[in-house]
C-alpha cells in the first residue's frame, strides 16, 4: 500500500488529511492501554455464567447446593434470587438494548447458551469449576435452529416501494430472478466481552467492552433501576467490536447485581465459547432478487424480498434493503422484509448491517444481469447510475461519486484487459477470475458534544464520551485539535470512553468521525474565544486592554492581529498569569436530520470493489489474490487509519466470501464450530494484495471537515465481487455464502 507518513509535525502544521500514526500506538504496543478486563481492584471476585445446554424449554430444577459449598464460592445467582432487573423502555433511542428480556427474568430457555445462573467465587478457576457443578434439570421442548428459513410464515413488511415492480418485471425483456443466501456470521473480535463492576454505595462504575458508553449507561440505569447519574460506564480501549459491542448484553447487568449483593468488585469475562451463543451474530439472510431490464441494460424493475432469522423474543430486522432503493435509477421497485423465529440468541448489527448482505445479493444479481445481457458489468452500472435519490422523492445526494469509483477502480485494476470467457484468463499456470461490485453505506451526523480545554501546563485536552474501537478515533480527534490550536500532537490529550465526559455518539454506522469533528472544532473555537477575552482582561500580560477582536490566536499563542505570530503570549503563560489552571469550552454538533442545511439531502458513501481470484482446478484451490477498493467516503482525515479500515474490511470480506459460517447442531441448538480454530476467518496468509484509493471529495453537507466515515463500506460489495470472480474463473455460480471447496469441485474448467 502506498502510504506517506506525516513528517515530524512542527507547530502549526495542518495535519488534517495527512497520514498520521496513532497517538495511542505506543500505549497499545507496550501494554499500557487498559482494556475492560485489564481492570483489577482490591478484593475483586470473579463471576462465571452457567449456560443452558438445551435450546428450548423450561428449567424444572436448578440445584446449586453442591456449587455453593465448593471452595471460594460466594454467591450463585439464578432466577429465584437475582432480584429486580428491568427491561428497557421500548423505542427509547437513548437506551438501546441487545435483548428485550431482562437477564434471568424467567425460567424459560429460548436458546442454547442462555445464562441460567451465575456463580461468583474468589478466583476465576473456583467460579468456573463451581459453575460446572450447578445442576440444572430441564423440561426440553423441540428446538428450531434450522438454517433454512423455508418455514417462514409469509408475513412481509414493505420497506420501500415505487411504481409497479411486478408488472414491470413481467414485461421486461431481460430478467434475473435468483435467491442469495448469507449464513449466520459471528462477530468474533479478538477482545472478549467483559464487565468489571465497582459499587460505591448506590453509585456504580462499570468497566465495559462497549461501543457506546452513553447508551450503555442509560440502559444500565433502566435495567438496574437506578437514576442515570448513579451509573458511570468506562471503555478506554476496545479490542474491536464489529457491532457486537454496540449495546449491552445480559452479562453486564448480572455482574452489577453480583457486585452489589457481595459489596465487592466483580469481573465477568465472557469466554470464546459463550461469545458464539450470547453476544449476537449477523443472522442468516435469504434474499430473492428480481431484476428486469431492457435489452440495452436499463433497469425497469427491482424487487428485493429478504428474510432473516431472529430470536424468539427479539424482532431483529437485518435491513438488507438499505442500499437497494437509491443505488440505481429504476422506476419500479419494492423491498420487503420478513422475520423467521429461531431458538438462537438475539442477532446484532455486524459491520455494514443490512447493506453488506443486501449488496451482496443485489450486486450479485447485477453481475448476473450483465451476464444475461452480454454486457460489461461496469458498463451496466454506469448505465443505471442516478443523480438523485429516487426513493426519497428525488432529493439530491449530498456528494455522490459512484461513477468515478467505478472508473478509477477499473483503471487501477486493469479491468479493460479482462476477457469475459469463463476460465479464459491465465497466469503462471493458474486460472484468474476477475469480478467487481459496487458498494454504498449511509452517512449521518449524530448530535454530540465535545469539550476542548487549554491547560496552564501547555497541554490541550479534548473530551467526548464516544469511543475509539480500534479505528483511530483518538488520533483523528487530536489531528483536528492540533489544526485548530496549533499545539503539537504530543501536547494534546484526548479523553474518550467514559460516560462522565460530554455526551458523544455510539461508535457504530461509521458515524463518529463525521459527527464529532464538528463539535471539537466548535469547542476549540469557543475555548480560543475565552482565551482571547482572558488575554484582554488579564493585567500584566502583553495584550491587557486590547480589544478582543484585535487578538489573534496562532500556533498556541495569543498576539495582536497586526503583530507577528511569535509576539504576544503563549496560552499557558496567560493562564499562569491569570492564576487559572485551565480554560475550557464545549462545542456541539447538530444532527443532520435537524440541520436545515442537510435535511433535504440523501447522504451516503460509495465504493467500487474489484477482485481477482486465482484458481487451481487440479487441487481445487481458490485464493483471492488482488483487491482494488475505491472509496468515496467524503474527506479523509487520516489516510493511514482510513486505509487500515478499508484493508481490514477487505480481509474480512475474504472471510465472508470464502470462509465464515456459524454452524448450529440441529439436535442441541449449539453453535458447534464456536472456537477460533473451527470458525474460519481469513488469516494474514489469506490477505490479498490490497490497493485502497480514496476519492477524497469533502461532503459539504457533513460540515467543515466534509468527512463521512469509512468503517463499514470497505466490506460492502467484496463478497459479490468474489462470487463474480469465482464464476469467471470456474464457471460455478455460487449463490449461498461462503463459497466452499465442495462448490468448486463442480467446476469443469481445466
Amino acid at each position: 500500500m502506498d502510504m506517506t507518513v506525516a513528517p515530524d509535525l512542527g507547530i502549526g502544521s495542518s495535519i488534517v488529511g495527512k497520514a498520521t500514526s496513532r497517538i495511542d500506538g505506543p500505549m497499545k504496543t507496550t501494554g499500557a492501554a487498559e482494556y475492560a478486563a485489564d481492570f483489577h481492584f482490591p478484593g475483586m471476585v470473579h463471576a462465571v455464567p452457567v449456560t443452558a445446554t438445551i435450546a428450548s424449554g423450561r428449567i424444572v430444577k436448578l440445584d446449586s447446593s453442591v456449587a455453593e459449598k465448593m471452595p471460594g464460592v460466594l454467591l450463585v445467582l439464578d432466577h429465584g434470587n437475582v432480584g429486580k432487573l428491568y427491561r428497557t423502555v421500548p423505542g427509547d433511542q437513548n437506551a438501546t438494548n441487545s435483548e428485550v428480556r431482562a437477564p434471568l427474568e424467567d425460567e424459560i430457555v429460548r436458546h442454547w447458551g442462555q445464562y441460567v445462573a451465575v456463580v461468583v467465587a474468589n478466583t476465576l478457576e473456583q467460579a468456573t469449576e463451581a459453575a460446572a457443578a450447578v445442576k440444572v434439570e430441564y423440561e426440553a421442548l423441540p428446538a428450531n435452529v434450522k438454517a433454512s428459513l423455508a418455514d417462514y410464515d409469509g408475513k412481509r413488511k414493505s420497506v420501500s416501494k415505487r411504481g409497479d415492480p411486478d408488472k414491470a418485471f413481467e414485461a421486461a425483456p431481460v430478467k434475473v430472478d435468483q435467491t442469495y443466501i448469507t449464513p449466520v456470521e459471528t462477530h468474533s473480535p479478538i477482545e472478549l466481552h467483559a464487565s468489571v463492576v465497582v459499587w460505591d454505595g448506590d453509585r456504580v462504575t462499570m468497566f465495559e467492552t462497549s461501543q457506546g458508553v452513553v447508551n450503555h449507561r442509560v440502559v444500565m440505569a433502566q435495567v438496574l433501576g437506578l437514576p442515570v447519574e448513579n451509573v458511570r460506564v468506562v471503555t478506554r480501549f476496545l479490542g474491536s467490536g464489529f457491532g457486537g459491542k454496540l449495546f449491552p448484553w445480559p452479562h453486564a447487568a448480572l455482574a452489577a447485581v453480583a457486585a452489589k449483593k457481595l459489596d465487592k468488585p466483580v469481573k465477568l469475562s465472557v469466554d470464546r465459547r459463550m461469545m458464539f451463543a450470547s453476544v449476537g451474530y449477523r443472522p442468516r439472510t435469504e434474499q430473492r432478487v428480481k431484476l428486469g431490464a431492457t435489452k440495452d441494460g436499463k433497469l425497469l424493475a427491482v424487487r428485493h424480498d429478504y428474510l432473516n432469522n431472529t430470536s424468539i423474543l427479539d424482532d431483529y430486522d437485518e435491513g438488507c434493503g438499505e442500499a437497494t432503493p437509491y443505488l440505481y435509477s429504476v422506476a419500479n421497485l419494492e423491498v420487503t422484509s420478513g422475520l423467521v423465529k429461531r431458538n438462537m440468541g438475539a442477532p446484532m448489527y455486524m459491520r455494514g448491517p443490512g447493506a453488506v448482505p443486501g449488496l451482496y445479493a443485489t450486486e450479485a444479481a447485477m453481475n448476473e444481469l450483465a451476464g444475461e445481457l452480454g454486457m460489461d458489468p461496469v458498463k451496466l452500472r454506469f448505465l443505471n447510475d442516478t443523480d438523485k435519490d429516487e426513493s426519497a422523492g428525488g432529493i439530491p445526494f449530498s456528494s455522490r461519486h459512484y461513477r468515478e469509483c467505478l472508473e478509477t477502480g477499473a483503471q487501477k485494476f486493469g479491468w479493460e484487459r479482462r476477457t469475459p470467457g469463463i476460465g479464459s484468463m491465465r497466469r503462471d499456470g493458474k486460472i484468474l477470475g476477475w469480478g467487481m461490485a459496487g458498494a454504498s453505506w449511509v452517512a449521518l451526523r449524530l448530535p454530540c458534544t465535545a469539550a476542548v480545554e487549554f491547560c496552564d501546563t501547555g497541554r490541550v485536552c479534548v473530551r467526548c464520551a464516544t469511543q475509539d474501537i480500534g479505528t483511530g478515533t483518538y488520533t483523528v480527534f487530536a489531528q483536528v485539535a492540533h489544526e485548530k490550536t496549533g499545539v503539537p500532537l504530543d501536547r494534546i490529550d484526548v479523553f474518550l470512553g467514559d460516560s462522565s465526559l460530554p455526551d458523544g455518539p455510539t461508535s457504530g454506522g461509521s458515524m463518529v468521525t463525521g459527527s464529532v469533528l464538528n463539535a471539537i472544532a466548535r469547542g476549540a473555537e469557543n475555548a480560543i474565544k475565552k482565551l482571547q477575552e482572558l488575554a484582554a482582561e488579564t493585567e500584566g500580560t502583553p495584550l491587557n486592554g486590547a480589544k478582543v477582536e484585535t487578538i489573534a490566536f496562532t500556533n498556541g499563542r495569543l498576539h495582536a492581529k497586526d503583530g507577528a505570530a511569535g509576539s504576544g503570549t503563549s496560552f499557558s503563560d496567560l493562564l499562569k498569569a491569570a492564576k487559572l489552571a485551565r480554560i475550557s469550552a464545549e462545542g456541539k454538533t447538530l444532527a443532520t436530520w435537524e440541520d436545515p442545511k442537510s435535511k433535504g439531502f440523501s447522504l451516503h458513501s460509495y465504493g467500487a470493489q474489484f477482485v481477482e481470484v486465482e484458481w487451481e482446478p487440479e487441487i481445487a484451490r481458490l485464493r483471492v489474490s488482488r483487491v482494488v477498493s475505491v472509496i468515496d467516503g467524503g474527506r479523509i482525515i487520516n489516510p493511514k487509519a482510513a486505509t487500515n479500515q478499508i484493508a481490514g474490511a477487505v480481509v474480512m470480506g475474504v472471510g465472508m466470501g470464502l470462509m465464515e459460517e456459524t454452524i448450529y447442531d440441529e439436535r442441541t441448538g449449539q453453535p458447534i464450530n464456536g472456537s477460533m480454530a473451527d470458525y474460519l476467518m481469513a488469516t494474514c496468509a489469506d490477505a490479498p494484495e490490497i490497493d485502497v484509493t480514496f476519492l477524497n471529495y469533502p461532503d459539504p453537507v457533513m460540515g467543515e471537515y466534509g468527512a463521512r466515515g469509512v468503517g463499514e463500506i470497505g466490506l460492502a460489495g467484496i463478497a459479490s465481487a468474489i462470487t463474480a470472480a469465482v464464476h469467471h474463473a470456474t464457471g460455478v455460480r455460487v449463490r449461498e455464502l461462503p463459497v466452499r471447496i465442495e462448490d468448486l469441485l463442480e467446476s469443469k474448467v481445466v
Binding site: T53, P71, E125, Q126, E129, A132, E618, I619, A620, R621, R623, L658, M659, I663, D665, R667, T668, I672, N673, A677, D678, L680, A682, T683, C684, A685, D686, R740, I741, E742, L745
Partner: protein, 331 residues
Amino acid sequence: MQSFGYVKATGTDKALAGFAVNARFIAGGTTLVDLMKLGVEKPSGLVDINLLPLDKIEPTASGGLMIGALVRNSDLAWNSTVKERYAVLSQALLSGASPQLRNMATTGGNLLQRVRCAYFREPSAGQPGGYGCNKRVPGTGCAAMDGFHRVHAVLGTSEHCIATHPSDMCVAMAALEAVVHVEGPNGKRTIAFADFHKLPADTPQIENALAAGELVTYVELPKPVEGAKSAYLKLRDRASYEFALASAAVVARVEGGRVRYVRVALGGVGTKPWRSHEAEAALMGKEATEANFRAAAEAALRHAKVRRDNAFKVELAKRCVVRTLKLATTA
C-alpha cells in the same frame, strides 16, 4: 477445581518412575493443556519431561536421523538435514498450526495429538445429557455421525468413530517409514510407524500402541532412499492455521520414466496417518504419468466411506494425491 500433581523430571528414569495411574507426560502442552482447560483431559498428575535430554537431532550409524522426542516442530522443520534429505517432513511441519504453536509443540507430542472432532472436545461429551463420544466414554455413541462432520474422516472409520487424525507431521513420517522409540516400565522397544497409531474399530478410546507409562523418546528416520524425492501438499479452506481437509505425503524415485520406489500417505481423510499401500501398488513399475497417478489416487480412496457432509473429501484427496505425485516425480 480439578487439582493435579506436577513433577519436573530430570532424567528419563525419573520421568518413568514419576508416572502414576492416570498421569500424563507433558512436553509442549499444546494439546494437553488445551484439553485440560476444556475438561476433556483430567489427569491426576503431570510429569514434565522438558528437562530430559531428548532435544537433539543426530545422524544414526545407518545413515538415518534420530530425532529426540522433545525436538520442537520449528527446530525439526528448519533443520538443514531435514530440509535437504527429508523435505516432505519439513514441508508437513511448516504447513501445520501456527509459528507460535510450532515453537512449543514437540515431535513426541505431535505423534500423540488428539482429534479435533467438535463433539470430542465438548466438556460434557460422553456424560449423561452430553453428546455421545465413544472416544471419551466408550459405548456412549458418536454424535458426529449425524452431526457436524464436514471435516471428518472417510478412511479407516468405524461405526464408533469417524474423527480425523489431525497431524501433518505424522503423514510425512508414515511415508518415510519412521520408527518410534519408546521407553517404559518394561524397558525400551521400537514400534514401526504403521503400527503406532490404531484404527478406531471397536475401541476408539485406544489411539496408539503405547502401554501405560511408556514414553516416546525418539523418532528414527531411516536413511533416505537413494535418488528419491519427496513432497507434502495440504489442502484446506484457508491458507494457514487450519487442519487439512486432505493432504498427501509422497516419497518416490523414478528411473527411466518408471516408478521404482514410492511411498504414499494421506492426511485429513483418515482416522490415522493413512499409508496407502493400494496407491503404491498401483504405481510400482508403472510409467510416471498423470493417468497412472490418477489410477493410484482412485486406488487410495477406493474404500472411502462418506457421510452426509464429507463426501467431497474423496475427490479432493484424489486431486491432492495426483498433484503430490507430480511434485515428487518432476524435477
